[in-house]
Structures are given as C-alpha cells and as structure tokens.
Amino acid sequence: MTRYEAVIGLEIHVQIQTATKAFCRCEGDYNAPPNRNICPVCTGAPGALPVLSDEFVARAVRLCLALGARVNLLSTFDRKNYFYPDMPKNYQITQFFTPIGSEGRLLVTGADGVERAIGIERIHMEEDTARSAHLGERTLLNFNRAGLPLIEVVSHPDLKSGEEAAQYFKKIYDIAVKYLGICRGNMEEGNLRCDANISIRPAGSTALNTKTEVKNVNSFAFIAKAIDHEIERQIAIVEAGGEVESETRLWNPKLKRTETMRKKSGRNDYRYFNEPDLGPLRITAEFVEELRTTLPELPDDKRRRLREAYGINNEQLDLFIGYPAVCEYFERASSSATASFSTIAAWTSGELLRVEDKENFGAVQTPPEHIASLARLIDTKKVNGPQAKEIFAIMRETGSDPEEIVKNDPRFTAIGDDETAAIAAAVVADHPAETEKYLGGRENLLGFFVGQAMKRAKGKADPAKMSELVKKELTNRKK
C-alpha cells in the first residue's frame, strides 16, 4: 500500500484594528449600526480616492517583523479586479506585485516532536469588503466593514498535517492578538479568517498535485479536523483510482466533512495592475528599525528562553506562550524568589488560574511576590500541601504575605523531623495488630499508619516525610 503525505498551505486574513479604515478616515468600528461608518471613499462613490492610513502601515511592518519576514522598503498597491456585490468598487486594493513583507517563518512541532520552520511566502496589505446579509429574496449590504484594513499572510506549502496547521494558525493568532495587539481576535466576527490549500502525494515525492481549497477553517476547534478529513478524502479518491478535482470546499461542522462549494473552471483572471491612485509605498530603513524596537519578545524566542531559564514542563510552556500576561506574572514572581521555578510555575498555572481568568489576567489581585513567598514556604517544607492551599485562600482574602500569615498563625508552624519521627514511632507502637498484618505482607496498610500519624501531628508534619518515617519504623520492627 502506498503511503501518502499531505502538502498544506494556509492563507490567513488578519483584520487589523486601527482607529480608521485603511484608505479613508471613517472609524474602524464595524459593529456600529449598519452603514454608519461610511463615506464616499469606502462606498466607492464616483470621484472618491483612497489615502493610505499610516497606522495601518506601521502595524503591517510590525507584523512582518514579528513573523521574521523581510520588510520591503518599496511595495506596490495593486487593483484586483472582480465583480462581487460586497465590493464597492468591483476591484479590491491589495498588494500583488510587491507585498510589504516577504519570506518569513514560524516554528511548529511535528508529530515526531521535532521543531520545523514553516515558510511564509508573503504578507500583504489590503482592504476588506462590505458585509452582505440575506433577507428573504433580498440582499442587504452593510458598508461599515468595507475598507477595513486586512493583512493576508500566505504560507509556503510546508505544513504536513491538520495538527501542524492548527499550531501555525494559533501562533499567528497569538502574535497578532496577544503579542502585538493589532487584531481584536474575535473569530465569530471574522477578525481572523483562514483558508487551507491541500493536496496529497506519495510520501517522499516532490510532486505538487491538484489541490483543493478549504474555505473558512478559522476555528481552533475544527481546523485540524477539517484539514485531516480533506486529506483522507483525497487519499480515498486516489486509492480508488480517481483524480482529485480542483475546487473550493467548505467544512460542515455538523456532518464533520468538507463539501463542494464551487468547482474551479480554469484560473480566475484578476487583471492586476498598479493602483494609480496610490502609487508605490516607500518606507525607510530607519522607520522599520524604529518599529523593531517596539516589538515584544516573540513566541519562538520566548519558548526557547523560558525552557532554558526555568526548565519548566511543556504544558506550562504552552500556557505561558499563549498567555503573555500570565507569563509575565510568573517571571516577576521568579525574579524575586529564592523558591524553585517549578513550584512557582505550578502554583501560577495551577491554583492561581483556578481563581483568575487567564483570558483577562491584567488586573490580578495577588502580587507575584506573594506567590513567590508561598512557594518558598513550600520548598523549605515549612508548610505542607494542604496548609499551602489554606494559606493561599487566606492570602487571597486578606491580601497578606504568606510569610506573615504563617508567622501569625500557630496552626502553620510545622513540626520538625525529630518530632515527626517520634509520632511515627508512637503510632506504630500503638497498633501492634496492624503492624503484624503489615509485616505479613499487607503493605497497603501504610496509608492507615500515615493517616493516624498525620492526625496526631494535627497536619503540621510533611506527609512525605511522615510516610518515609512510618515506613522506616515498620521495617525496623521486622528485625
């Protein structure tokens, strides 16, 4: 049987959040009452002309830099000609001949656990279309969205699976929404849209076979499923001796399959030519360098650094990469602490996120120093697990530093190793029958002894230490 591999490229449209639209000074709020934020320019009135928004350019350059792309100091605006009811001018202003950004890259982790760079062919600026709504036989047009700034990020066909595509899409989402803050990131409202081009070939081959385009796979919930389904569909066709047809398909989330949207008859001819109303866009190297200094640390670099600096696990890494604010909190806690990074990471990602919303982590009420101080108490065994949880709750309630809480509350003064050993010995001595059974092979009785001992210690002993000492005491009796 032939083994196949998939060839996948993604085209991602990122709607850029700016004060104004791309080519006019209308407000960029598409949720205003229908056709409120419109003017002659974005409705394509005769005689109106586009004027490029500087803010849009700056944001596009920052996205290029964040995606490791080359920023072209001279790029072109071009007209893409096609008729569509939601296109005010029946052409779209885009960047076809020379985009603002070329040849970027992002890392994904393959099924084998190895990181691979996915090439980004081009990053270009363009304008959004109006939005149509169907009302019975009628189509209503809302031009609030017409002319909003969009950036399209086109990958090379370097992705190999639905899972990799999902990772890549998520990473672009994180960069645009969470790291650069240039996109609202509302998927239901189409702030990020993703189309996938998919073909298959025998594993190891370099052929590029007929591809299908799966539209609107812009959901983290189903992007991987939709792509994997399409790969399997194509394999089934080829296995049955058929040929994959060039077409545009849509994912049906109910039936969990892709369906034909339209067949592609020949290539569309968009008759691109330079937009004479704008002329080429020229920016300076200084402008680009200035914007580079405004970039935050980006996911790939951050992951490498966190892994090396803190040695935390992958799950925690994913969390910190996906939620920069949580990560910043963790790093602040770590910088002030003499506690171990793993304890701080565990408490930040665990207990703290059970009570704080990671999506909205800005105004967290617990200072990172308090988590650090709690971690220190745990690391130095001054408190045990259940006590730490109690202290955490008190800390949340009172806003006090855990060190203070412990100092002022005798319940949290842990007993020392000698006292722990004495309790262990006493408990074993008090239960000769159980001791005999234990020594006879009923090793699960250990829990019973530890439980009794902890009760006697009023919870102030370290359970692990207690367990160790009880076991030692019992083993000693064997002799």
Binding site: P40, V41, T43, G44, A45, P46, G47, A48, L49, P50, V51, L52, R79, N81, F83, Y84, P85, P88, K89, N90, Y91, R267, D269, R271, Y272, F273, P276, D277, L278, G279
Partner: protein
C-alpha cells in the same frame, strides 16, 4: 477677475443653451448663493463628471441619469470658499471618453462659432459655455486633451496643470494616472486667479502635490528658448499652419530662440495612451454595476443584473474602451500590451525631460485642424488621432495650455505650449504675453458668432 455678471450670464444661458446644449443642469438664478472672497461674483460652470453636492453627476451617461453627488470635489470646494458660485453642470462625452461631445447620452453640444460644428470633447460643454459667455470660467477634465482640444475648437484658453497640482478628489475617474481637472477660460489671467485658490496638496488625493507659485512674473521672450517638434510640424493640417508660423515669427521677433527638437516616439503616443487609459478605465468604471447606482436592469442574479445594466446603459464608445482595457490587462496579454505601454510611457517621459534640458517651453499645434462638422465626424480610429498633440502632456504629467492663435475660415485655431513639471506659472505668463502679442481678446470676442447676438 472682471466678471460678466449673473444677469448677463443667465440671459445668455436662456438665449443660447437651448441651441448649444452646453449645460445639462442649470442652478436656478434665484438659488445662487453669492460668495465672498477673491473670486466673489465669478460664475463657475462645472463639467458633469465633477462632484458638487446636491447637483446631478451624470458623467454624460444614462447609467447615472438620476444620481446626485453626495459630496463636493476639493477643487470646487476651494473655489466656492473663495467666493465663486456654481451655475450648473456641463455636457461631456460619456465618462469623458470622446473628442466631440457626440458620445453624450444627453445630446451633442454645438460649437458657438458654428452650430453645425463640434465644440470638441470631451469637455465640449465647458468650452461652449465659456465661449458663449454662459459662465465666467469652467472646469473640465483632461485625460488625453479633453480640455485643450475643445478650448482650441472654441477659441478660448484650455489649461491642464502639472499632474497632481489640482486635486482629483471628486473627479469621476476615467484614467487615474492621466486625469487632471483643467480650466477653460476666455483670458489666461482668469486661469491664474483660479489656480491661486484651487491648486495644491489635498489630504484626500494621495497623488496631489504642492503647488508652484501662480503669481504673475515678468515674461521676457528674449530669454526664452522655444522648442518646436519636427514630427509634429509634418502632421499639422493646412488650417493650422499659418497661425503656427505667425506665432513663431512673433516670438522670434521678440527675441526668442527657436530650437528644433525631434520626437521620434511621437507615433506611439496614441497606442500607449489607448492601452493605459482603457486599462485604467476598465477598473474605474467597474463600480457602475447597476446595483449601487440608479439605473438597474433586473436580472436573476448579481451577475445577470450587472451584465444587463452595463449592457443597456453604457454607450457604445464606453463599452468599446472597457472591452479593450479588460483585454489588455488579461493575463495572456498583460506583458505585450499593458506592461509594454507602461515602458514606452517612461521612454516618452524621458524624451520630454530631455527637451526641457534644452528649452523652456515646447510649441505645438493643439489640434491638427479646426472644429469639424458634427455630421462629418471621423470614424472611431481617426477620432482617436485627434489627441496626437495633446497626449504627451498626459503621459508625462507636464503642464500644457492651449491658446487661440488665429482663425481659419472663420473658425478658431489653437496652439499649445507645454512646459516642464511644475513650471505652470511660466505657461500662464507666456499665455498672457501671447494674448497681447499674437491674438487679442477682442479678436476672439468678435469671432464667436454667439457673442454678437
């Protein structure tokens, strides 16, 4: 500016517009809002492809028959702010595509010098209205000569500024990289006064530029080097030749140096222009799809409605150019037509830049002959040749002015001066000198038959 006065202008409109069909829409006299400022009292006619809020904007097309402009063009806005008053909208070839105003969906405009003849085009309504004193001054648009050729046929001045000097915001685009709003006037001084107010950078037009000075400078022909182009002299008709020779004689006598130039690419200008202009037009006119504008031929789908509306309401010339433009941009022909035309355009620009290393201005005819009879309109391709002398200024973006230089058979003859980029002031200085020394104001006034009425 010495103005004609609202009363006389409305008298002339009442007397002549029925015959000439220059105005498509006249603002009723009682609704005129007199303005204050340097242009106070100036009655401004506006070509009907330039937006004036509240007035119609038909572009000479059936497709926009009931469309009313929702905003005002920057140039009009600035002129009105300086006191000018808009008297109405002037006839044109549909979407400014034509050279005789015969392609208007609202009937021909007639030449005030001879109603059997064309006023030229596409700003024929503007030229006729100015010549027949139905306004003080008019705005036109010039993509390949659409201001200068009708000005020349009607015995007035027609000026196309350096590309970008007048904002295009509000001018319905025909070919965006060639279009400029131009001015038609009876006196060159009027043009200067308008430019002092209207020119300059506009935040709503990314291609607009800072304006050069339009203050009058002393014009000394003895310091001028005037270029003449051998290839153009060969293509000049017999009606134009005497006026051309006389103009050169006058300049020479005044001490100007006449410098012969060669423009070997002259015979490519029509093709280059037709490819670029139609390509841009095919996109610019795509918005008129029968969905957003008034006339809609009903079809079952968007595609059908669009095709039916465009098929029904666009005129034959507009369709011809859209088809041509669509074709030259198509993937299979882009390189051999559009891209090649763009390259030749650069060659032509470099040639003219080279000219202005040697001379201050270039003198050519504005048209090959005088206004032809409307009944004897040349065929489509012969009509395209009308623009031979005027197109280079559009391809290069350079300023040019057509000026009356004589008459032939009781019809005006126009010549043209072209200058280097942003040397518009020099052109107007020269035109003022020519007005005094080549063809006086009074002579033109007598020639225009309608003026005698």
């Amino acid at each position: 500016m010495e103005t004609l006065g609202v009363k006389d202008i409305y008298g002339n409109i009442a007397a002549h517009n029925g015959a000439l069909n220059a105005y498509l829409q006249v603002v009723p006299e009682e609704r005129l809002k007199p303005g204050a400022g340097p242009l106070s009292g100036v009655c401004l006619g506006v070509k009907d492809n330039i937006a004036v809020a509240g007035l119609q904007l038909t572009c000479g097309s059936k497709l926009l028959e009931t469309y009313v402009a929702p905003y005002t063009a920057t140039v009009v806005e600035r002129l009105v702010a300086a006191g000018a008053t808009v008297t109405g909208k002037l006839n044109l070839d549909e979407f400014a595509m034509g050279s005789a105003t015969t392609y208007s969906a609202y009937g021909d405009t007639k030449n005030p010098w001879d109603e059997e003849r064309t006023p030229g085009g596409s700003s024929g309504g503007s030229a006729a209205a100015v010549a027949a004193k139905m306004c003080d001054i008019a705005l036109g648009s010039d993509t390949g000569g659409s201001v200068r050729q009708p000005a020349s046929y009607c015995g007035i001045y027609g000026y196309k500024p350096t590309y970008g000097t007048l904002s295009r915001y509000g001018l319905t685009a025909f070919a965006s990289s060639l279009d400029q709003i131009g001015i038609l006037a009876r006196r060159p001084g009027h043009i200067r006064e308008l430019m002092q107010v209207a020119a300059g950078r506009d935040g709503r037009d990314a291609t607009s530029i800072e304006a050069p000075s339009f203050d009058a400078q002393a014009f000394d022909p003895a310091k001028m080097r005037i270029g003449v182009i051998a290839e153009y002299e060969k293509n000049m008709g017999p009606a134009v030749r005497p006026a051309y020779d006389r103009c050169i004689e006058t300049l020479k006598k005044a001490g100007a140096t006449i410098v012969p130039l060669s423009f070997p690419e002259y015979d490519t200008v029509i093709s280059v222009y037709q490819v670029i202009a139609t390509a841009e037009a095919s996109a610019n006119l795509a918005r008129f799809d029968g969905i957003r504008y008034t006339a809609r031929a009903e079809g079952c789908s968007f595609r059908e409605t669009t095709a039916a509306s465009r098929g029904r309401w666009f005129g034959a010339e507009v369709k011809r150019r859209i088809l041509l433009g669509t074709w030259v941009l198509s993937r299979a022909y882009y390189d051999s037509y559009y891209l090649r035309a763009a390259k030749v355009r650069t060659v032509i620009l470099n040639r003219w830049k080279e000219f202005f290393g040697k001379v201050d201005m270039v003198l050519t005819p504005a048209t090959a002959g005088t206004a032809f009879k409307r009944a004897e309109q040349p065929d489509t391709f012969a009509l395209y040749l009308e623009d031979l002398f005027t197109i280079p200024a559009n391809l290069t973006g350079m300023p040019a002015i057509a000026f009356p230089a004589g008459t032939h058979d009781r019809l005006p003859v126009g010549l043209q001066l072209t200058a280097d980029l942003s040397r518009d002031g020099l052109l107007l200085d020269a035109a003022a000198w020519l007005e005094k020394n080549v063809m006086g104001f009074a002579t033109i006034e007598r020639g225009c038959r309608h003026d005698a009425i």
